[in-house]
Point group: C2
Chain length 133, copies 2
């Protein structure tokens, strides 16, 4: 692996850490500076899509008006891709958020794929195969 590759390898993680710090701070200027002009956000569960930097800033700033907070649990990055696991808390309710990011050649976020897994009850057929916590 060359030094250039190694530098790229760390890039996704650093950008994603800045992304969540800017979101937590509601610093939409810093948040927007991390995004490609034509960034595409997709949430496969509700099949929501937002295209373009300004629209995506508005989606975050206006779509989530509450007093929420995010804590980064882990970021895994490779080349220009990264995955993050965060804890999102609002009104004392906490939820795990999972995001996949793809950066463009300028190191800006070009694609975000966002998941919010909800609790569910496991099927009875594997009750004897796992414990509950």
């Amino acid at each position: 692996m060359s030094d250039a590759d190694a530098a790229v390898s760390g890039l996704g993680g650093a950008v994603v850490a800045e992304y969540w710090a800017a979101a937590e701070a509601r610093d939409w200027a810093a948040f927007g500076a991390l995004l490609a002009d034509d960034v595409v956000y997709e949430a496969p569960q509700p099949r929501e899509r937002v295209s373009g930097r300004e629209s995506y800033i508005r989606f975050n700033a206006e779509g989530f008006p509450g007093d929420w907070h995010v804590t980064v649990q882990r970021i895994i990055s490779q080349d220009r891709a990264a995955a993050s696991m965060i804890q999102y808390t609002e009104d004392g309710i906490s939820q795990t958020g999972l995001c996949f990011f793809d950066l463009d050649e300028d190191g800006r976020i070009a694609r975000i794929t966002d998941f919010w897994p909800d609790p569910y009850e496991p099927p009875a057929n594997r009750a004897n195969l796992a414990s509950r916590y």
Copy 2:
């Protein structure tokens, strides 16, 4: 980044690709060989936990008896961590699975954190901020 670090950097991705190939093949010997003796599996949504290689093989072999298939969509790996996004299909129904993996110093899978995000309807307050697909 040293050559040794670079070698480790690719390890998680290769092991996770083998993990899904072995699961798809129901090759539980190959599957088990990728796992640490004391592997811990956790699914935070149903709060299920399985500890130990033999228990985790049984969980997979007996807990999911159907004619399911998995297709790997992407794997992101860094050092001894990796995240995978797969498509799981059974009886014509397809679902996205998201897994985070941690490898031990021998390159075996020591920890698996598993998520299965379900579809949901988006809240009305952001209907004007995103399109649906």
